[in-house]
């Protein structure tokens, strides 16, 4: 009996591998029940009703030249033409660090990365680039990214720490390069921030927002969990106040009230005021995210640190924060994506970011009535970077193994 039972298990077939013909797949996924068939017809109807006019419009009626003619404005705003090489320098550095990270962590050739490089090359070869310096820069971007990729692959895990440090240095460096540091005669003259505009301003607002709101958010989160009642209540008050009002009121307040609060001889330019508003706003949200991480730390960690004789500051800096922050990295990145999208609100207070520039372009007489083209382009840019960041944050989540320990 046992022999037969054993023999029969040997003869058990593996589960069948599901194989479909094309028609079989269509039947299984689209027409398996009567209501699914109905839904399929409905969906096809919707795709046809929206897709057909959209395609005819974008290929035949749309005047995309409004975007092409104003491309420089949309990208860098009023940034002096003679200094645009500095923006390219930032992009080349980004390509280098990005390529390195790609080689160190992802290692493989993903379809999207090849498509991305091909898109950059395609842009370089397109006729609109004839005779402009952009073509050379675009090709250089691809070459630098590939070189970084090769180097990263060769270096492998040994380079991880270096690349992380490079990222940390990169963002302050970008601000320094874009802003400049010498007087008008020097190599990198100061470009005042009222000349920053377009996508450049959008990115700078995001980067500054990320860099400065993060430490403030950590402080507020620690303050909210502090055993000292006054510090705790002040932190709670700040966080709840900011989270209870819309960002646009804070930006408005920063534009109108900040000059009132400063001494008479001190002036702050409009971009800086918007930055202050964005930092104060994001810090409150980051504080709540970080608090989530802090609450997940078991109490034993505090007690163990205490038993080893670490002081309160040492416990926080060496034991608690590293673990807490690691747990909430995906949430923090999500908040930064939200911040990137929220920077578009500075257009309401009159700054010329990507959206603000588009608004001013369509109000010019020669481009009147072309709102669809301009704003669709802006939408596409926002979508592209936001989606890309969300994708990277998912990769980061996998790489860090969040939630697996």
């Amino acid at each position: 009996m046992t022999r037969r039972a054993i023999a029969s298990t040997e003869n058990v077939l593996p589960p069948p591998i599901e194989r479909y013909t094309l028609l079989g797949w269509v039947y299984k996924n689209l027409f398996n029940t009567w209501y699914n068939a109905l839904l399929t017809f409905l969906a096809v109807g919707i795709i046809y009703a929206i897709g057909k006019p959209a395609i005819t419009w974008s290929l035949e009626q749309a005047r995309w030249d409004v975007v092409l003619v104003n491309m420089r404005l949309l990208m860098v705003g009023q940034y002096p033409v003679g200094q645009i090489w500095r923006i390219w320098l930032c992009l080349h550095l980004l390509a280098a660090v990005g390529g390195l990270s790609w080689g160190v962590w992802i290692r493989g050739y993903r379809l999207w990365s090849i498509l991305f490089l091909a898109a950059v090359l395609g842009l370089a070869w397109s006729s609109s680039m004839d005779g402009s310096a952009a073509r050379g820069h675009l090709i250089a971007l691809d070459v630098i990214a590939l070189a970084g990729f090769g180097l990263g692959r060769l270096g492998g895990k040994r380079l991880q720490r270096t690349v992380i440090n490079l990222w940390i240095v990169y963002f302050p460096l970008v601000i320094l390069i874009v802003r400049g540091m010498t007087s008008a005669e020097g190599a990198v003259p100061v470009v005042p921030s009222n000349l920053w505009g377009g996508l450049l301003l959008t990115f700078l607002l995001t980067v500054v927002g990320i860099l400065f709101s993060f430490p403030l958010g950590v402080l507020l989160a620690l303050g909210r969990r502090s055993p000292l009642p006054i510090i705790r209540w002040v932190s709670i008050g700040y966080i709840e106040l900011i989270r209870g009002v819309p960002l646009v009121t804070i930006l408005f307040m920063a534009q109108i009230m900040l000059p009132l609060f400063l001494p008479a001889d001190m002036t702050v330019d409009r971009v800086l005021r918007a930055m202050v508003g964005i930092i104060l706003f994001t810090a409150a949200y980051q504080a709540e995210n970080i608090r989530g991480g802090l609450q997940a730390i078991p109490h034993g960690q505090y007690e163990a640190a205490h038993a080893m004789g670490l002081s309160g500051v040492q416990t926080t800096m060496l034991i608690i924060l590293p673990q807490a922050l690691r747990n909430v990295i995906p949430v923090l990145v999500g908040q930064f994506i939200a911040l990137y999208k929220d920077t578009s609100l500075v257009a309401i207070v009159g700054l010329l970011d990507l959206l603000g520039i588009a608004k001013s372009i369509v109000s010019q007489p020669q481009f009147i009535g072309l709102q669809r083209e301009a704003y669709l382009f802006v939408t596409a840019i926002y979508w592209l970077f936001s989606y890309f960041m969300a994708y990277l944050s998912q990769r980061l989540e996998v790489a860090l193994g969040v939630g697996e320990r």
Binding site: N29, L30, N32, N36, L39, T40, L42, A43, V44, I46, I47, P227, L228, P229, I230, I231, V234, E240, L241, R243, G244, V245, P246, L247, V248, T249, F252, M253, I256, M257, P259, L260, F261, L262, P263, A264, I337, K341, D342, S344, L345, A347, I348, L355, K359, V362, Q371, R372, Y375, L376, V378, T379, Y382, W383, S386, Y387, A390
Partner: protein, 394 residues
């Protein structure tokens, strides 16, 4: 006495005592904070004095002197600033309330579609969600307003949909009812219907508690209300409302209800944008219900609808409610973006008041206070609701 004194001298000095350090740190913190705010306020008062302004809210009773495009309560340019604030607040409440309702309906539809077994439906829902989640609301609103609602044809070439609903670049006109002389009595009938429905709901709930077989309480209550409403409509000697369809008269539209393009763009933009986030919340909520729950429900013989109503939905709701609250609040706060397309909501009206009266500090403080109270009230209510439906652990 002697003993106590020696202990203090031989023990730790008082500045190393943790209790002292705590008090000291807080005192220093509060002094620094007060100094900082004192400095800011001193600067502010100095600046205001130089501009010849004084603080105070008495300006609210002055005449506003500007027009507002849309209002729910009577308003003209001789009304006070306070009245203008009220108009703005009511408009914000209207657009947020309707927006929340529409966003919830759309969000549930797309959240369920995202989990559909139908490949095409699932893919369309995914496209919708991924597109909207990754663009800024402000860009969507401006594109929606200038690219769609202002691009409708002029009034004399209005697109007429069955209804008739007319789409023009000056707004959307829909048929609307005009109250007749029997309207007040019809309102009384509706009140009776509501009372009956609530009574039935209470009775059915009690019955359900007693027998353990919960009937469709809200389904029955709605049915009773609709029945009374329909019976009343036909029993009255003449209809309570007469239908007033919109029609083109030269260069304007007469009759019906005309909804401005600003209102429609804001409402639909807010609802569509937030629905993508709600759809994700709904999907996550439904997926969070363990598969074994559905299998167990099938095993005890519940049918598909009963499984949804009695097993999946109550459990999913617990996961859905907290993030849903924050999306409702986001929608309310995001309605302040109306200022970008010219709908007179609270924020946009306040901007006009600020420019007219020059009272920057008071106006901004008032606006922030109102938004803050709305937020706090909503979270209080949702926290109460959340506690009510929370899983009661043994």
């Amino acid at each position: 006495m002697q003993n106590h004194a020696t202990r203090v001298r031989s023990g730790t000095p008082f500045w190393r005592d943790v209790r002292f350090q705590r008090v000291f740190a807080q005192v220093v913190f509060i002094i620094l904070l007060l100094l900082f705010f004192g400095y800011l306020i001193q600067n502010m008062i100095a600046t205001l004095q130089r501009q010849g302004l004084a603080l105070g809210f008495s300006f609210l009773h002055q005449t506003s002197g500007f027009d507002i495009g849309e209002y729910l309560i009577p308003y003209d340019r001789s009304s006070t600033y306070l009245r203008a604030f009220q108009i703005g607040l009511l408009n914000t409440a209207l657009v947020s309330g309707l927006g929340i309702l529409l966003a919830t309906i759309l969000g549930i539809i797309f959240g369920v579609a995202r989990l559909s077994q139908n490949f095409l439906v699932q893919y369309l829902a995914r496209l919708y969600i991924e597109f909207l989640r990754n663009i800024p609301l402000l860009v969507l609103l401006i594109l929606w307003y200038t690219g769609v609602f202002l691009k409708f044809p002029r009034i004399n070439q209005a697109i007429t949909l069955p209804g008739p609903i007319m789409l023009t670049n000056r707004g959307i006109a829909v048929p609307w009812g005009i109250p007749t002389e029997t309207y007040p009595s019809y309102l009384v009938i509706l009140g009776i219907g509501l009372a009956l429905a609530l009574l039935a709901a209470a009775g059915l709930t009690w019955h359900g508690r007693r027998t353990g077989r919960t009937p469709l309480v809200w389904g029955w209550a709605t049915a009773i209300f609709l029945l009374v409403a329909a019976a009343g409509w036909f029993m009255l000697p003449s209809p309570a409302l007469s239908l007033d369809p919109p029609q083109v008269q030269g260069l304007r539209i007469a009759g019906g209800k005309q909804l401005s393009p600003e209102f429609m763009a804001l409402l639909s933009g807010l609802a569509i944008y937030t629905s993508a986030f709600i759809a994700d919340v709904v999907r996550a909520g439904i997926q969070s219900v363990a598969k074994g729950q559905v299998e167990a429900a099938k095993a005890i013989g519940l049918n598909g609808f009963q499984i949804l109503r009695l097993v999946v939905f109550p459990q999913a709701l617990r996961v859905i409610i907290p993030p849903l609250t924050s999306h409702y609040l986001n929608l309310t706060k995001n309605s302040s973006l109306a200022v970008a397309i010219g709908y007179p909501d609270l924020f946009s009206v306040s901007g006009t008041i600020l420019n007219q009266s020059g009272r920057a500090v008071e106006v901004i403080a008032l606006v922030m206070l109102i938004y803050l109270s709305i937020s706090l009230l909503t979270s209080l209510f949702m926290n109460w609701y959340n506690r009510r439906i929370r899983f009661v652990e043994r």
